[in-house]
Symmetry: C2
Subunit: 192 residues, 2 copies
DNA sequence: ATCATTTTGAAACAATCAATACAGAATTAT
DNA sequence: ATAATTCTGTATTGATTGTTTCAAAATGAT
């Protein structure tokens, strides 16, 4: 009957996500977005909604990427402790690469503060990582790789929390060694 | 020779700080500021400068408050370990009180990202806390309250990092027990 | 090819943004 | 009291904000 949408919606959201990621929600203008997405504002409003809706879609997109990453790690055979260690190593690499900090963290401290929808998405994202870590810790305990005296729930929370601070540390001090040392210390605490 | 400024500059900065703290840099408008500060925009620009300058003054004000807090804690006699424990307990109380998250963290992940001046202020703030913690850990080691096998520098970094994550955790999950457990675990790790 | 439908692009919308101009009120020193 | 100076309030600046309008272009079904 009629014309189809010309642009790739997922690609457009990806681009928008990158802009929001870099500049934050309030720091991003509609013109920043349409320029990066290479679509007109009328097309944007027609297909993706207003700024807030688009932002929600972007944060969702971001957490879906993270979810897929965790799912890929779950499939990976090998000891649970190694899965966790690799997970930590990869995170350290991302942090000290000097790229933009984790979007979930930035969003948590900016836009999520007064938007429950965003909070819910980030909470679900955090919960998913929590389960991933908790399960692997529990399995590592069964395998005797981590002391059974520890509480996997507590350790999982601790895991996620510590992480966030590493981003802030590198943001301010730009010192890779600090991050590496903290990661090594964390693994040591975990395994002893 | 001439008239004096009518409003209390420190009080005005305090008010501005509260607004920035709540809404973030980009989320705060000049109207928000002048309304809260109860001064006219012309007075603002005359005495405090533009939005960016005012923000710098506010972040400085915030870190000065924290500095004074730490200095008060330093004067407090008692064991170094107790000083650290009290410091942690107080932080936990603030976090689970449900008030706004720490302004330094929010700013680090929003405005500091592309403003070196802000980064420098926050770095100095972080360094001051670092010294406070490091010194107390070192003293606690001498007193035999903390194992001498640990590295006070590393522990101090770890201290600060963990902290940040607690804020994010409570922001998303609103679960005081999680924070309390993590704090208890942290102290346990520190002292054993 | 025609028609119905939808997307697109350019332009413009009112509202708000940060920032300023300027006149008059207020203050101090003389 | 006068003069010199500075602060304050009103009003407004041009720019930018998010959003919408609308005609023209593009598409698919008949």
């Amino acid at each position: 009957m009629a014309r189809n949408v010309e642009f790739d919606e997922t690609a457009a959201i990806q681009k928008a996500m990158e802009v929001f990621w870099e500049k934050g929600y309030h720091g991003t203008s509609l013109r920043d977005l349409t320029e990066a997405m290479k679509i007109n504002s009328s097309s944007l409003y027609n297909t993706l909604g207003d700024k807030q809706e688009l932002f929600v879609k972007c944060v969702n997109h971001y957490t879906e990427i993270r979810k897929k990453d965790l799912q890929a790690r779950e499939k990976n055979s090998g000891s649970s402790l190694n899965t966790l260690k690799t997970y930590i190593d990869d995170a350290v690499s991302v942090i000290i690469s000097g790229e933009n900090s984790c979007m979930a963290i930035k969003t948590a401290f900016e836009a999520a503060v007064d938007d429950q929808r965003i909070k819910d998405i980030l909470k679900a994202d955090s919960d998913y990582a929590y389960q991933f870590i908790r399960n692997n810790i529990a399995k590592a305990m069964e395998a005797g790789e981590i002391s059974k005296e520890e509480d996997p729930e507590l350790l999982a929370d601790y895991f996620i929390s510590t992480w966030t601070g590493w981003h802030e540390s590198f943001l301010l001090h730009q010192n890779p060694l600090k991050i590496k040392k903290m990661a090594a210390y964390f693994v040591k605490q975990l395994t002893k």
